[in-house]
Symmetry: C2
Subunit: 326 residues, 2 copies
């Protein structure tokens, strides 16, 4: 199957080029270190999925101005700021198949260039002179930070409830997808029902996106993803597959899972053991079922826009969340 | 001599309490880790010098509203965000006499709580509904990040020119002081001449503040400052005393200074040697002379407000920059 993100990017080529130009203009700084660090990250064949959603939905809603371009850039800057700070945070090595920025320039520069991008996002938004948009964006930025903090704070916490996990991934991931889909309805002054539809679609899509990521981290294929299998396990992150597996194990196996998870250094052999336990609890299949609750809901959210020919792109993006590694 | 910052804080007690309440309200988060981390830093007997400048100048200009309280909080949040990220950056151990946040909670949390505070600052500013203020604040935030990046980028660069050093400390330090003094003139709609006076005062005060810090790092007394002498040297930071000393040494001594500075691990003995070289070049006295260019200019900037009884507080703050360690 063709990658629907690439098809969408092609379909929206004119706007995508505008977004890319605006990005390039805004990371061009008198300080070359800023230009190169930001550029390294933003150009590293990032798929720009969030901006694409903003552009597509603005098109669906027949938006005629240029605010959607700036919004898309802001969202991409905020996203990249969190990636840079996440590189510090997770000591992740491979980001989008390239060596991460902090491996090349060090933690210091990663943190500061993240700050630079975040500040640029606000500066850009100010250009729009819309208090309403600034309100949404600054609130989202707070929620993202809180979500990441809660994510770190619950590292190795095997007692993390499913409810709390869902609230964390909502904050750290779904929130930015939510506004990527919701903001176009603001700049086009839609009625409550349309606003709600895209708001909910963004939320459900974002939740599914993170769940899918968490599932692929245990059950995906390394090469295609440009990521290492088991990264979450090695970092002691608690994600849906672990929560599901732990809940459904007998007491003895529970103890084993705790032991494996609380080790100071977790090895590949430990990962194999965890995968065996997940096999026992049928975690892969059950996780896909859980994921499908969100993808189904996302599909329902946009059902009333079936008449719009662009809706098919949204549907394909949803489908891709489930099958992207198959 | 009494600490003029404490006297000023007492003088502005009513507003200071409002600022403190607003800070407390805004770091109270559903996620306790955020409240405790931010609180640790903000309450750690920080002197809140920047907010005090904003409050004092707003008073001098007879401002009657509440925007200055929110501005003061924003400025303190932005400042604290940079401190938190600076802790990551400089592996600084003692911040305001307490153990730094990242020693207790780790790099991860320091970075993210910094992001949280920065986002909160923007959210708060949005409340003021002033695009003009948001424009200034977001631009400052960009400049701060750039300044810190340039600071890190020039670590151990003994060829750093005085000019470039001044442009870096302008960005990383003076800029926030500048807007702390300038913003009150915006919310009170002052004429160009008053705006310029406080803008320039803030710039010169900020430059002097950083120069003073850099001088005390080599020539101050450790206990009073709650900082370790020679921290900049151990971190390989290029500051005014080093630039001055290097420039005025003969070639052989230059080579020695380079050798000491480029060592992977710099010891206390190395620091003594550097101090001996600085003695040779009369760096302490010459640095004070250089500093006084900025403090004198700052005094001149506010000369036309001599009639205002609050001006004495500003003057005392300037005097304190030179003698605070004597």
């Amino acid at each position: 199957m063709k990658d629907p993100i690439k098809s969408l990017s092609k379909y929206l080529k004119v706007s995508v080029l505008k977004v890319e130009k605006e990005i390039a203009d805004n990371i061009k700084d008198e300080e070359k270190l800023i230009t190169s660090t930001s550029g390294h990250l933003i150009n590293a064949d990032g798929k720009k999925l969030r901006p694409l959603l903003t552009l597509l939905i603005s098109r669906m809603l027949e938006y005629k101005g240029n605010a959607h371009i700036i919004l898309a850039v802001c969202i991409e800057f905020i996203h990249n700021a969190t990636l840079l700070h996440d590189d510090v945070i997770d000591t992740g090595k491979v980001r989008r198949g390239k060596i991460s920025a902090n491996e090349i320039w060090g933690n210091k520069i990663s943190v500061l260039v993240g700050d630079y991008l975040l500040s640029k996002a606000f500066k850009l938004m100010v250009r729009n002179k819309s208090i309403k948009l600034l309100e949404i964006l600054s609130q989202t930025s707070i929620i993202l930070a809180r979500g990441q903090i809660q994510d770190v704070g619950n590292s190795q916490n095997l007692n993390l409830s499913e409810k709390k996990y869902l609230s964390i991934i909502n904050a750290k991931t779904a929130e930015l997808f939510r506004i990527s889909c919701f903001l176009p309805t603001v700049i086009t002054n839609q009625n409550k029902s349309v606003q709600k539809a895209f708001n909910n679609f963004g939320y459900n899509f974002g939740m599914a996106f993170q769940l899918s990521d968490d599932i692929l981290d245990y059950f995906g294929e390394s090469k295609k993803m440009g990521k290492t299998i088991g990264k979450d396990f090695f970092e002691g992150k608690i994600t849906y597959p672990i929560i599901h597996c732990y809940k459904n194990l007998d007491n003895n196996s529970k103890k084993l899972l705790i032991k494996l998870f609380l080790k100071t250094k977790r090895t590949k052999k430990d990962l194999s053991q965890v995968l065996k336990l997940m096999d026992k609890t049928d975690t892969y299949k059950k996780s896909l079922v859980f994921l499908s609750k969100y993808t189904n809901q996302a599909r329902k959210d946009i059902i009333k826009f079936e008449g719009n020919k662009d809706t098919v792109y949204l549907k394909k993006l949803v489908d891709h969340l489930i099958i992207r590694d198959k």
